[in-house]
């Protein structure tokens, strides 16, 4: 499946709920969607044969955060990437577990490390970090070094 074919298939049913379908290396493409329409998009993409959810992850772009979902179809033997942007001040998106139960642990991990809440998740608890751990290590604001240490390192390189 090519990227334009993917767009032709998804666009009629989803309309402007998807903002763009763009090329992404070695996959069928990346579908960017509005987060309010998350469940509709999940169901449409699942109906296309993408039954296997490989992973869910998040990226902190400082001004906003991105949630991405990587899916695999046994029919076309391709991956597809879904992605949506959420504002950093109000980072939440609908959970994908009703459509792909395998999203469960991946969303728990994304919730604790990138601080993105998944609404209606059946079991949103800490997975890799201890209960009550108040930090979100994969945010850019979580620094591994003190600033002066970083400077020394930069000069050394």
């Amino acid at each position: 499946m090519q990227t334009d074919e993917l767009e032709r298939t998804l666009r009629p049913s989803l309309g402007d709920r998807i903002t763009s379908v763009e090329a992404f290396p070695d996959t069928a493409g990346r579908v960017r969607f509005r987060r309010e329409a998350a469940l509709d998009v999940f169901r449409s993409v699942h109906a296309l044969g993408f039954h296997h959810l490989s992973t869910v992850g998040g990226i902190d772009w400082v001004d906003h955060r991105e949630v991405f979902y990587i899916l695999w179809s046994d029919d076309t033997r391709q991956y597809v990437v879904l992605s949506t942007d959420v504002p950093a001040s109000d980072a939440h998106v609908e959970s994908a577990t009703p459509v792909w139960p395998s999203a469960n642990w991946h969303e728990r991990e994304t919730w604790e490390l990138v601080d993105i809440t998944f609404d209606h998740h059946p079991d949103l608890r800490h997975l890799l970090t201890p209960d009550g751990y108040a930090f979100h290590p994969l945010l850019r604001s979580f620094k591994l070094h003190e600033p002066e240490e970083l400077e020394v390192k930069a000069r050394h390189v």
Binding site: H52, W100, S102, L128, P137, H145
Partner: protein, 381 residues
Amino acid sequence: MSEMWINMGPQHPMTHGLWNLRVRIEGEVILDVDPEMGYLHRGIEKISEDRHYNEVITLMDRTCYVAGLAWEHLYMLAAEEALHIRPPERAQYLRVLCEEFQRIASHLMWYAAFVQDIGLMSPFLYGMRDRDLILDLFQSYTGARMTYEYMRAGGVRNDLPPGFTDRARKVLDWLLPRFHEYDQLCLGSDIFHKRCDGLGKLSAEECIRHGVTGPMLRSAGRKRDLRRDRPYAVYDQLDFEVAVADGADVTGRYLVRMEEMRQSVRILYQVLDWLDRHPGPVMADQLPRWLGAPYAPVGREGYLLKRNYPKGVGFSAIEEPHGEALAYVVNEGGEHPYRVKFRSPVFANLAASRHYLVGYRVADIPPIMGSVDVCVGEVDR
């Protein structure tokens, strides 16, 4: 009889690593399970954001400590795509050589541990003995037995030493009849069948619903292998069969892994022949100097300015010994990757544990979890 929760772990012979399986039982019957992970969480994805691209390789060996080279390969495929580098063909063959040897080593380690779990003691020694031969080969060309740090953005660190391919063929010639011995030891044993047949069933549909991949999925009869379905590196030029079994149970997973080792041997013979016939460079010519120490061999390092180096994203998926592994590398133009995300196959296989454990007995947990082949390093990352 009343219900209760028991902890199997973090220190328990069944876990093979540091994690805790909380089990709710009534008498001997498992009602619910809740794996507790994170004891080995080192934040590999976060540390990667603070390192040069080549320095992340060190972490990859530690992500999965029984399949380090497979993880190096996974990361390198994604990082090279993000950095717009293409390795020479000989380097790709060398990487496949690493990955397939690593697959056999990982499966032998699994065999040793799993068979010991179900009460057959001597196969443990056989499995470890044969794995050691492969580690010796690794040592002869990477210099290490466990933390190899062999691959680099743009290729591999060094070529094979003289006489390596003949030594490797000798090891393969030795291994092939051993698999037959393993089968006789296990499949000919009543104890093995009584402890494994029909346990931990998970149908192909359930596997896909819950994200289970690798030998667990193939033991349910589904022929999904990324080396075949979505060939990376040079797998499209190699001839092999995808191992499948039916039964979807512990015995099925045993059969799949045994067949996979035979197929890996088959691939390795082809790779060794190719390497003999095609000498050449193992490192790309033009490499950004800022990739990080250690640099490319003297005379081969190109010099590209970091300034205006194109951005990019890299995405790769490989069939790791445990299943489908993914890497996603975002290059925002800096010296370090902006974000690195890994998908570990064991992570998803463990997440589905409720669906293949509930309803069985407590004494069935060691064979079932043994057949999952848990590597905590890659679950917790």
